[in-house]
């Protein structure tokens, strides 16, 4: 078993190779940076203002949360066309729960402190059940996921319609609204605390990862590469938080609600928004799913099944139950996205989440998830969602007409996949 390519002396490595960063990830970050810079020039610097960065991040949160789950669905060679509809039915259910069922039927009264939490728990349970049902139809009944979720696309949105009789339901509970709206933010101080914790966690993760490798006697990156990576990541976290902290609350809002911002008087009170709660939710979801993907058996089996379903089955993996789990996770994420989306609107509408299924799939695919299965990353899907939302908002700011916006977004989707295919051909990756 001779291997002619293997040599004992490592070849000379470039700066990027030493960092051991995924080149595809760099490509996506580059594309995202390009989009931002171009729109910033076209809008005379309005695109990269703290205010717009803040808006972009809360607009992206809902789709990005679902896109992380779509990665698992697509990696196992399935598809979910019903995520927008599940979002709608979860949103309708939660809107009714918090405005009618809990306050009136159970008699808690509007504004009871339990209402938002019971509502969210119930919504997540509904999402999980619908997702698990989809997964059961796909895994145990053998109906193709495309068909199951195409049916679900029609069914669930209209179940929501029937529930609410097509009415707009609101206003939603004030605490519930904090999960998606502009007022649900951490504020300056807590945002900095969060940034500090995030930077420390990043350093600790990189260091402990290196320690494990050294412990097993595996090759490690040079120290300077490790330090550069730490500096770059920490810098990015701090820059993002600093930008959000630079978005000041408008004077009129301060004059009205200065007590809410911890000030004794409106004079001399200069609060800023800081990190939105919906973005915190997205970060929590992203971290959890990344851990699941990389550090748990469930994640390993998801990727193994996507790579070779027969091999997974022969290795003793219950691929049917796995399908149920993957769709149930997708359902839970649809429910969380429903919290964010309806909270941002402050009420539930019949058309909430319309076309989200396409945005979510596009985000996952632009983020490098292969429809042939087995390949995909959580951070890629979030970057994909960011790129899509930036394009859409940027074009809206420049004043591009709606049809042209869609034409551009559609073309970008196809182009991104084409680039990915070329990249794989050149690097020989699967």
């Amino acid at each position: 078993m001779s291997d002619l390519t293997a040599t004992d002396t490592p070849p000379k490595r470039s700066f990027l190779q030493s960092l051991e960063v995924d080149t595809r990830l760099l490509g996506m970050i580059g594309a995202f940076a390009l989009v931002c810079i171009v729109f910033n020039i076209l809008t005379d610097g309005r695109f990269l203002t703290p205010r717009n960065v803040f808006n972009l991040s809360i607009q992206t949160a809902s789709v990005a949360i679902m896109a992380t789950g779509m990665v698992f669905v697509i990696v196992t060679r399935n598809i979910d066309l019903s995520v927008g509809a599940i979002l709608a039915v979860c949103s309708a259910t939660m809107a009714l729960t918090q405005t009618r069922f809990l306050p009136d039927t159970l008699g808690l009264g509007l504004g009871h402190p339990l209402i938002p939490w019971v509502t969210i728990a119930f919504g997540i349970a509904v999402g999980a059940l619908i997702g698990a049902f989809n997964g059961w139809l796909v895994g145990y009944q053998g109906i193709p996921a495309f068909i199951v979720t195409l049916g679900g696309f029609l069914v669930w949105r209209n179940v929501g319609w029937v529930q609410t009789s097509g009415q707009t339901i609101g206003p939603l509970d004030p605490v519930f609204q904090d999960f998606g709206g502009i007022n649900g933010t951490l504020g300056t101080q807590w945002s900095w605390v969060f940034a500090g914790v995030a930077v420390l966690t990043t350093c600790w993760l990189l260091w402990s990862n290196r320690k494990t490798k050294v412990g097993h006697g595996f090759p490690v990156k040079p120290v300077w590469a490790e330090v550069s990576l730490t500096v770059i990541l920490s810098g990015a976290i701090l820059a993002f938080v600093a930008t959000l902290n630079a978005y000041a609350v408008p004077e009129r809002a301060v004059a009205r609600d200065f007590a809410d911002y911890g000030c004794a008087t409106a004079v001399g009170c200069n609060p800023s928004y800081g990190i939105p709660v919906s973005v915190l939710l997205l970060i929590a979801v992203a971290v959890t799913l990344t851990v699941v993907a990389r550090r748990t058996r469930l994640g390993r089996y998801i990727f193994a099944t996507g790579g070779n379903p027969d091999a997974a089955e022969l290795s003793g993996i219950n691929t049917r139950l796995l399908t149920v789990k993957v769709f149930a996770i997708m359902g839970v994420l649809c429910a969380i996205a429903a919290v964010v989306a309806s909270a941002r609107q402050t009420y539930h509408t019949n058309d909430i989440g319309t076309l989200d299924e396409l945005r979510v799939i596009a985000a996952a695919v632009i983020g490098g998830t292969a429809l042939s299965g087995g390949v995909g990353t959580i951070y890629g899907a979030i970057l994909g969602a960011l790129i899509m939302q930036s394009l859409q908002s940027g074009m809206a700011m420049v004043g591009v007409d709606a049809p042209y916006q869609n034409i551009v977004v559609g073309s970008v989707l196809v182009f991104a996949v084409w680039v990915d295919i070329q990249y794989r051909k050149i690097t020989g990756a699967k």
Binding site: M1, D3, G215, H216, F303, A304, G374
Partner: protein
Amino acid sequence: MTPLVQMKDVSISFGGVKAVDHVSIDLYPGEVVGLLGHNGAGKSTLIKMLSGAYKMDSGEIWIEGKKAEIHSPRDSRDYNIETIYQTLALADNLDAASNLFLGRELTTKLGFVDDGRMEAETRKIMARLNPNFKKLKEPVSALSGGQRQSVAIARAVYFKAKILIMDEPTAALGVHETKMVADLIQELKKQGLGIFLISHDTREMMELCDRVSVMKNGQVVGTERVEDVTEDDILSMIILGKNPRAAA
């Protein structure tokens, strides 16, 4: 001596076609039993019942003198049966360590997958089986046929199989790599493993096996010790479906 494996009067049909028709076969420790026959003779189907990939319609499987219940690949593994499939059954998108431990991952105290420990174990076993194996970080799709084969074999060796099933283990390999597999079979035999070997190469089977069973149309034509028969005898059994020695 108690046989490691006894498959007694085993049958399975697929949509009215009797793929395996009342077959009985056994395997002793330290023995290599070859299964020969045309494509569709039922060799792979027979061993897939032992490895838990198919459920038999009737018959019994006895492992080390006790009746065994094998309903899934996991059951089969619990009896220390390991299978190296013709298609290798590797997840191409995962690296060697993930494939070696697929379905039996090593975990940390908190229950997370312990990639470091799995990679270290993989390095150890590969140093023994295939010292040239270096691509531990890459997905197995980037490996050569021989390297992929050594990942599949490492799986069987690492988990201390007592019974090894090899379905066309050398079909995709070059001369040098075929030799390596042959040496490994000899070594495992010495350790007391029982091996079922499936191949089309009659000459190779005469060299590697202690006994050969020839199958045709789902039935066993005959089982002979290799020293008692010539290659021509075997060939005529495969082609004619009759055992010349039984007739004599």
